[in-house]
Symmetry: C2
Subunit: 196 residues, 2 copies
């Protein structure tokens, strides 16, 4: 029963992007008194499911919005007990550093297959500053970039080792691309997301 309450509160949070207030929890779980909510909340807090901030408002704690981080895959799922969770992680915070210049794109084609980027994957790309803008990342040799080359868009390795700049696919079946006129690196790939 108490787990049912917990799930309703978490559902509310996911739906409304904020924690419910006491009267909302009241209606959510079917209580007729706020005091019952207060006692429920106290219990959930002592169980580590919820948290309250200094002003009494509910806030999501680590168990909400974060994913338990176990160890290495070789070590397996250590005993499965709650105590074995090494840490928790917020995926968004892990991946997105500069919010204002990060974009997602879906990958088409297999030109980066040997870099572990497959068709259908999503890539997180951080925009390279076109002066004044937020992200002022510098492109380095070996970065995976999204570039505008001679009028066409593509995602490739950025190569600049010898001073001669070109784009290199991660697929033996394709050839490096040397720009005839234009090569503009628009974004640097900072992450890959795949869902099965």
């Amino acid at each position: 029963m108490i787990n049912n309450y917990k799930n309703k509160i978490i559902s509310f949070y996911k739906k409304n992007k904020r924690m419910p207030v006491y009267t909302e929890i009241m209606k959510l779980v079917g209580f007729k008194s706020k005091n019952a909510v207060a006692k429920l909340v106290d219990k959930l807090i002592s169980e580590g499911v919820l948290d309250k901030d200094s002003s009494g408002h509910l806030i999501p704690n680590k168990l909400i919005g974060e994913v338990p981080l176990l160890g290495l895959v070789e070590a397996g799922f250590p005993t499965m007990a709650e105590e074995s969770v090494l840490d928790t992680m917020n995926i968004d915070d892990y991946l997105v550093k500069d919010k204002d210049s990060t974009y997602l794109l879906r990958v088409k084609g297999d030109s980066m297959i040997e870099a572990g980027i497959q068709e259908g994957d999503m890539v997180l790309a951080e925009k390279v500053s076109s002066e004044g803008s937020a992200g002022q990342k510098e492109v380095r040799d070996g970065d995976i970039v999204i570039a505008l080359i001679d009028g066409g868009w593509t995602m490739k390795y950025y190569r600049n080792r010898t001073g001669k700049v070109f784009l290199e696919p991660a697929n033996k079946n394709y050839q490096p691309i040397y720009p005839e006129n234009e090569l503009e690196v628009v974004a640097i790939v900072k992450g890959v997301i795949r869902k099965y």
Copy 2:
């Protein structure tokens, strides 16, 4: 200046996992009157940065916590204008379906390299129900699984085509593993996360 205010509010949200109330915004940006906050909030809402729910509380809108989703990588960064953003996406919601049975593990080794899973990647694994538990996913042939096989942990393809169950790596240098005694699939890999 207004962008500075916006960032302070977003920082508050990321730090406290909830939106600030008016008096908190007041102190945050240095106002001395709540009315100034009300006017600021109105402007931010009309600019689409914030949202208010029916009870007047601030809630994060799509621009906070979600990442703009552009089109295919082949299509490039279309014009870069705000209008060209097709959609936004919450990475957590996209990846994590069953919160209570999802775990993250860091990948070691290269046995799944041909499946685009490299050493250092994070995998999202959904626990297979050990009866009564939440996730009741069924393991299917071709799934990438985390398994306990003859006492050792590993991540491999699950193969069950011919009725004979075994684990298959995605790396030509390794051989399929047939269980001598025990083969327990503990979790199914539902996603991969890589950060550069």
